[in-house]
Each structure stands twice: as C-alpha cells, then as structure tokens.
C-alpha cells in the first residue's frame, strides 16, 4: 500500500534523526582531534580537499595512542569574529586581513615578536645615510615566491611602484583598488608634493636604495608594516585584479582556498627560506561570528585559538584545564572626544572639569574586567615620546565642580553623549560605558543624553561636526607615534581622523618637527612637549588603553600575540 510505505519512510527518517542526536561520543572526539591526517596534508596545495584521509577521520578514536611530544596533526584552526575583506594587504586596512596576509606575505623588515622594534625580514641588512635621505636595503638571496619565481630587487621596485603610481599596470585603480595606507604613511603618491620617496634605485639584484626628499623618521618603521609586503610580480601579471583572491608571496604559508565569511585555508610553504619553519602544516582561519559560540567551539576542541575573548571570561578560562589565555600588549586608546568647535566645549576649563569628573578605574573594573589601564596620554605606553611625567586628571568631582563654576557653569548644562553602536577592542561595551559616564557626569551636575546610531552613520556624522561629546578610539599599526598624534590631534587631519576639531599651531609645529627629525631622542623630545600641551588643552578625555585577550587550547605552543593586532604563525606548533 502506498501510504503504508510512506509511513515506513517517515518512521525510519525519524529514527535516523533520533540516532543522529545521540551520536556516539568517540566519533565526534575523532573529529575534534584527528591525529592521523598530517602526513597526507603535506604538499597538498592545489585544492582545499584532503583526499588522502578518507575513512580515518571519523573512525579514529584515540584509545591507546600514547601522546607524542609534538602532535602528528599540525593543523591549527584560528577562529575569529569576522572575515578578511580582501587578501591584498595594501589596499585594505582591517586587522582581519593582515592577520592572514602576514602568513602569506613578508615585508623588507618585520617587527620584533613583542615590540615595534624592526628586525630583518626580506632584507637581511640595511644602511641609512648620515643625512637621513638614503636608505639602502640588502635583500636575502635564494628566497622564492610561492609560484616558484625568485624574489629580488626588481620585485620590490614593482610593488612600490604599484602602490605609488596610480597609472602603474598593476595598480588596478579602475577595479576599485585603493592604496590609502600608502598615501597616509608616505605622505601621498608619486607627483604629490608631500610624497617623501623621491626615487627608488635598483643597485643590483639584491640591493635596493630609497632616496627621500627630506628626512622622515617613520620610514624604517613603515618598512616593517604588513601593508608594504612584497607580492610576486609574476602573480600580479597572471591574476591581475584577482590578486586579492589569489595571494602569492614569500611567507611561511601559501594560499589554498577562501570561502568568504567562512574560512581561509593556508598550507605550509615547503620552500620557505627560513629552514625548519613553519612548524604547522596547515592553518585554517575560521569565521565564527558569535562570541559565545566561538568559546563553545574552543571548549569542545573543534578549534585551537579564538580571538576576541570576552574580558569577563578571562579568569574562568585562565583556570580551566586544557585551555590557556593570551594577552596582547595594549596598542590603542579609547577616548571621549569633545567637539572643540562647539560651545561650551570650546572652553578648556569645561573640558578639564569633565576630565576630572570621569572615574576611569571604575570603568575599567566594570567593563574591562581589569584588562585595561587608565590612559593619561592619547598615546599607548609602548610608544616613542610617551610622556610619563604627565600628572593625570584624577577622579575628583569637587575639582570638576570648581572648574565648571570658574567657567560659568555652576548650574551645569545638558549635552549629547554620542555612543558607538559597535564594540571595538578599546571599547568592549559602549552602551554600558555610556551609562557609567552618564552617572559620572550627573554627579557634577551635568546632564548627558545618550545618543546612538548605526556605525556607518556614526562615522559620517562625526566628520560633519554634529556631535557634542563622542566616544571613539584609535589602534596603532606600525608603532609610529605620529600615527596616533598626527591623525588624532593635528590640524591637517580635521575632520577625517581629528574629530575633536582640535587645532593648536604649537602642537602642529612640534609634530612636524618630530616627523622630520632623524635622531630618535629629538623626536622623543618633540612628542613629549606636544603631549604636555595636549594635556593642558584636554581636547579629549583619554579613557583607557585596553588589553585584548585571546584564548586557546593548551596544545598551542609558541604563540605570541603581537601588539599590532596580527602576528606570523611561523613558530607556532601543536603539542600533544
């Protein structure tokens, strides 16, 4: 009977469902730490698929396998909240992109594991002329790109021309490529008056010389940035504008596949110049948007490292067997900016008063679970010129009220407190922060109305100067102090990144002098003086320098988060 057989099918399907829900523990365990497929992974780099391990995936339970020192399966899954926007490091700025491109590409120099000090990268050595105008880089010989072509001085020249010359055949401007970071870091593009690079000369295959128009202190730092890494010219020729989905560099890992909003797979590059590295056979960058889902996946052993650990979970994870936590050194500033063009915030007394009204310690305790330090400079502590002599605006409501009275606002006033709609490393919970700040201001007689809007709108409106007091932050990328001070507080940066509209010609002069000073001690001096002036004017309430935290399985060895938000995984390995 037809209906009867249908009923039978329905019943058996139900049974299958039920069985699935009661799946046997060992089998998923096998999936989570699948020990036997490392060998087959090697060299398999033309497809996302590992055909070699049919059958041994699910059935592999670990009974009786004595743990070796290093796990056989060297596949690391790094889970993060969002996807990369592109795999062309030079035309985008987001941290999720550089996190991946740092594995594929290398720059002439690189940053030390835990500071912004530069170390040899693709250049094993370099000279700076006495006048600070000529930089000569000596390149490593025998370095191969992933496509098998040789790395040499011509490749470096091609890449720099690609970014600096909009008409270059590989610039792909018409395809929407945009090298804003190059423009920001080197003062513009070829032909621009402020472009610092005058010419680039290839002296021989492995020697290249950069001649500058004027001394430029940040030049050597810039060469370590992931934005200025070297792409294979042959691959640029082959893929054209599709290079952003087919990255070819010299780095420890080579690109295998990318499923957008899902995962990026990289495999070990067998011909990597630094012999014996990388330790991992495969790295998978997996997108898991939900924070708690990511933590669950870590706890169930499906991933190895998770980005964006909630500060509230830090203690629990640190004490959980089988897991470990990683701290990234602070490299940001979360601030509350004043629109200094707008009354009453054009009065420094009002700004100082409000700075005294904010209780930074309580904010850190409540929102950052202690994983932040109160900020007294708009520059993170690891930076050149950080002024430790500055006496911070302490939490002092009485003093705040005195200053307000002095400014003529005994009865207080009402203002809009613009609150970011999204969490950022420097501000993990903006709406709660706004509530705390609102109370702080209420205590000195000021009424703050919390205003919020969608993120893109927020950024747009702040440029137009519609805000009274707003929440925002800034993260560093190359360890250059100018990147913070020049962008946040100098006159030329109004309104794109200087949204306090703070304009002080003395500060501007000091920053310019610092930019062109060659001696580090001079630069330090200029920055410290500028910070002194900024402190007096108080154009922003410097809230915190936050410490981003990550969590991982305790099998992960040698993983050191770098303060720039991304780090190469060259030395990382998995132990049993």
């Amino acid at each position: 009977m037809r209906k009867k057989s249908l009923w039978l099918i329905i019943m058996s399907l139900t049974l299958v469902l039920f069985l699935a829900a009661c799946g046997d523990n060992n089998e998923t365990g096998g999936e989570a730490d699948n020990n036997n497929n490392a060998a087959e992974n090697d060299g398999n780099n033309d497809a996302a698929v590992n055909d070699g391990n049919d059958g041994n995936d699910e059935g592999n339970n670990n009974d009786g396998n004595e743990a070796p020192a290093a796990a056989e399966d060297q596949t690391l899954i790094f889970a993060r909240g969002g996807d990369s926007t592109s795999l062309d490091f030079a035309s985008v700025t987001d941290g999720e992109t550089s996190r991946v491109t740092l594995q594929i590409y290398e720059s002439l120099l690189k940053f030390n594991q835990d500071s912004f000090e530069v170390e040899p990268g693709l250049a094993h050595d370099w000279d700076i002329s006495d006048d600070g105008l000529t930089y000569t880089f000596y390149l490593r010989e025998g370095v191969k790109f992933h496509d098998g072509t040789d790395f040499n001085a011509d490749a470096v020249l091609t890449n720099f021309n690609r970014w600096s010359d909009p008409d270059h055949e590989f610039a792909f401007i018409d395809e929407g490529y945009n090298y804003a970071v190059y423009g920001n870091q080197f003062g513009g593009f070829q032909g621009d008056e402020d472009h610092v690079i005058d010419e680039i000369n290839v002296l021989d295959d492995y020697t290249i010389e950069f001649v500058l128009k004027e001394p430029f202190g940040a030049f050597i730092q810039n060469m370590g940035m992931s934005y200025f890494a070297i792409t294979s010219p042959a691959a640029l020729e082959e893929y054209g504008a599709d290079i952003q989905e087919n990255p070819v560099g010299t780095g420890p890992f080579q690109f295998v596949s990318w499923d957008r909003d899902d995962r990026i797979i990289l495999d070990k590059f067998e011909d990597y110049w630094n012999e014996g590295y990388p330790k991992l056979d495969r790295v998978i960058f997996q997108v898991i948007p939900d924070n708690s889902a990511r933590l669950t996946a870590l706890r169930s052993g499906e991933i190895d490292i998770m980005d964006g650990l909630n500060p509230d979970d830090y203690e629990a994870i640190a004490n959980e067997p089988g897991l470990q936590v990683f701290e990234r050194e602070t490299n940001n500033i979360g601030y509350l900016g004043f629109n200094t063009d707008q009354e009453p915030f054009d009065d420094p007394l009002v700004r100082q008063a409000m700075h005294h009204a904010v209780d930074k310690e309580t904010l850190i305790g409540l929102l950052y679970a202690g994983l932040a330090e109160p900020a007294k400079n708009p520059l993170p502590p690891a930076y050149l010129g950080y002024n430790d002599d500055i006496e911070p605006y302490d939490y002092n409501p009485e003093r705040a009220q005195e200053l307000l009275a002095e400014a003529g606002f005994e009865d207080g006033f009402e203002f809009d407190l613009w609150t970011m709609p999204v969490a950022r490393p420097y501000m993990p919970d903006p709406s709660r922060a706004a509530e705390v700040l609102q109370e702080n201001f209420a205590a000195v007689g000021l009424t703050a109305n919390i205003v919020t809007m969608e993120w893109a709108t927020y950024l747009d409106e702040i440029e137009t100067g519609a805000q009274d007091v707003f929440m925002l932050g800034w993260s560093g990328t190359n360890g250059d102090s100018d990147y913070f001070l020049g962008n946040l507080l100098s006159t030329p940066s109004i309104p794109t990144s200087n949204q306090t509209f703070y304009s002080n010609s003395e500060v501007d002069d000091l920053l310019t002098q610092a930019r062109h000073a060659v001696e580090e001690s001079d630069r330090e001096q200029y920055y410290q003086e500028a910070l002194e002036l900024i402190h007096e004017d108080s154009p922003m309430i410097t809230l915190v320098h936050s410490i981003p935290v990550l969590a991982g399985s305790d099998r992960v060895q040698n993983y050191v988060p770098h303060l720039s938000t991304s780090e190469p995984l060259t030395e990382v390995e998995l132990s049993e």
């Binding site: 209906k3 009923w7 329905i10 399907l13 139900t14 469902l17 699935a20 829900a21 799946g23 046997d24 998923t28 365990g29 999936e31 699948n34 497929n37 698929v49 391990n53 049919d54 059958g55 995936d57 059935g59 399966d73 596949t75 926007t85 592109s86 700025t93 987001d94 929407g176 945009n178 804003a180 423009g183 952003q244 989905e245 499923d259 957008r260 909003d261 797979i265 998978i284 997996q286 997108v287 898991i288 948007p289 939900d290 708690s292 889902a293 669950t296 996946a297 169930s300 052993g301 499906e302 969608e454 893109a456 709108t457 950024l459 747009d460 409106e461 925002l472 993260s475 794109t496 990144s497």
Partner: protein, 333 residues
C-alpha cells in the same frame, strides 16, 4: 493548469520590480557612506572621495537604479563592492548552504510537527495532547538564538556529541561540486564525510526548525480535529478500517491543505530568516551573506540577495499552490 502557471509567473515581474525599487530606495536613503565603511574609520577624506568616484556612487539615484535593472535583465546580478567579484558567481554556495539547512529544518519540522499534531488530534485531551501542545507553545515563543546557544552548550560543549559550528569538519573539508554537502559527500562516495555533514546539520536544523515545527503541529491538530469529527470518518471507522488507515489515509489527506499552506509560507520565511541560526552556528548561508553586505554597505549584494530570496519565496508559494490540485483533485485552476 498551464495557463495558471504562466499567469502566476507573469505576476512575478511586477512583484520583483516593486521589490527591487523598495530595497534600492531604502538602502540609498539611510545615511552612511559605503566608501567610508570600506576604507575603515582611519582613512583620509581624499581616499574616500576617490573611492566614491570609482564606485559610481556620485551618480544620481535613478541612473544607478537604471543601470542596475539593465544589468539584471541581462542576467547580471551586479558586482560586489566589497569583493569586486560578480555576485552571480559568488551567491550559489551561500544559497546552497541555506537550502540544505532549510530543507533539513523543514523535514524535521514536518515529520515531528505533523505527527505530533495528528496524534494530539487523535488522542484529544490526553496527556500526549497536552504535553505536545505545551511544547509547541514553548517552541513558537522560543528565541532561536537562546535555543541555539543552549543546544551548543549541552550537545557540543558538555556532551561532545555534535559539532558546535560550521557545515563540515574544517580539518577534512568536502570537495564542492553542487555545494550541497550531503550530496557532494555521496558523489565522492565518502560516507564518513556524509555522516560528519549530517551531524553538523542537526543542531542548526533543529534550532531553525523549532518554530515551524510548533506552528505545523498546532495547525495539523486543529485541521485534523475538524476532519476527524466529520461523518465520512465515522463511516470509514464503521466499515472496519484500521485506525492507522483512518487517521493517515482518510483523515490526514483531507486535513493536509491548510498544513501545506503553512509549510510553504514557513519554508519561504526560513530561506530569508535563517540569519540568526546562521550566525550562531557559523553557517555560511545567504542570510549571513546579505547581513555582511549590509554592514559593508555593499549595495549590489543587498539588492540582488534580497531579490533572489524574494524570487524563491514566490516560487515556493507557486509550487504549494500547484500541489493543492495534485493532493485534492477537486481544486482546479
């Protein structure tokens, strides 16, 4: 029947033009500059202006819309601003992922919901009826994200039975042909991968299927109650047919039409509304594709994504309407 189908297909045209106009307008009316979003909060003004120019965002609204519609007529869904690649090429894997999840969720919802509804009606006012209907009520009102997180906590973290995220084991991915993982694994003849993919479907599938299941159960119950009280059922019972035959063959067949309507509507809703489930379970589906596009002001993707979903919705309802006359020959078009 054929004439009816053609008429329904023709009606699709004004619906889709209307849809596209509405989404196009709303997206362009809300403030926020895509060039700004693409370049990030640390970009310079000139860079933003240059990119706007490149993306053609300076053109008047109607010209932008016209260009888009012209491309659409030629089967061109546009180019994503964010990825700079053709949407028609990008969209299929996401669509397939959502289809797979939706089909699983609906199979779950229909099997459990229909059977629970039938038994509840058959044993009206029994403990089963009460329990099933209370569960259905909870199911309807359960926030999906909460259910999903609880499932992950219990089945992935505490018990370790089922995976917490994704469609497959990332350490052993399936080579995509159709982008339906269950199908692809079968084509490759890899049963272990099939089983892994199936296990990945269970938690998100149940999370997504819970609300439709509850709605279907309640709908089936009330529809069945009406049918079971009718005279012909009593006649068949008197004739001595087995209970199973009375309930399923004679009863349910006549109660199925309203249930089918609900199934059709729910399927359409799930296609576009799986975004929460897709986010919690990191399911790379169409909902997240569009969601990411909204965050990046990727106009063409938002446009085309919504248009594709709307088309699916209309098609599913057309299929349901055609099924009516198949199930109940008295219905003629």
């Amino acid at each position: 029947m054929l004439a009816y189908t053609i008429r329904r297909l023709l009606m699709l045209i004004p619906v889709l033009i209307g849809m596209s106009l509405i989404t196009f307008s709303i997206i362009h009316l809300i403030p926020g500059n895509p060039a700004r979003v693409i370049l990030g909060d640390q970009a310079t003004a000139t860079a933003v202006a240059n990119l706007e120019e490149q993306l053609g965002l300076n053109e008047p609204f109607l010209i932008q819309y016209g260009q888009y519609m012209l491309g659409l007529l030629q089967g061109d869904l546009g180019t994503s601003i964010r990825t700079n690649t053709a949407i028609s090429g990008d969209i299929w894997p996401y669509l397939a992922a959502t289809f797979e999840l939706t089909i699983f969720a609906m199979v779950f919802a229909v099997i459990v919901g229909v059977n629970a509804g039938i038994i509840s009606a058959w044993k009206q006012n029994s403990w089963f009826d009460y329990t099933a209907m209370v569960i259905a009520l909870i199911g309807v009102s359960m926030p999906i994200f909460w259910l999903g997180l609880m499932q992950q906590w219990v089945f992935a973290q505490e018990l370790g039975w089922l995976p917490a995220f994704g469609r497959e084991n990332p350490r052993n991915p399936i080579e995509s042909i159709t982008h339906f993982n269950l199908l692809d694994a079968l084509i490759h003849g890899q049963l272990d991968q099939w089983w892994t993919s199936f296990k990945h479907l269970v938690l998100p599938g149940i999370a997504l299927g819970t609300i439709p299941m509850a709605i279907i159960a309640r709908m089936t119950r009330s529809s069945m109650l009406e049918v079971l009280r009718s005279d012909y059922i009593r006649t068949i019972e008197a004739k001595g047919s087995s209970t199973l035959s009375v309930i399923y063959r004679h009863g349910f067949k006549n109660a199925v039409i309203p249930v089918l309507t609900v199934v059709g509507l729910q399927t359409g809703t799930l296609l576009g509304g799986a975004i929460l489930t897709e986010t919690i379970f990191s399911w790379p589906g169409i909902g997240r594709y569009i969601y990411e596009a909204i965050g990046n002001r990727d106009y063409p993707v938002i446009q085309s994504g919504i248009l594709v979903i709307a088309t699916m919705f209309v098609f599913i309802n057309l299929i349901v309407d055609l099924l009516y006359s198949y199930i109940d020959p008295r219905i003629k078009y």
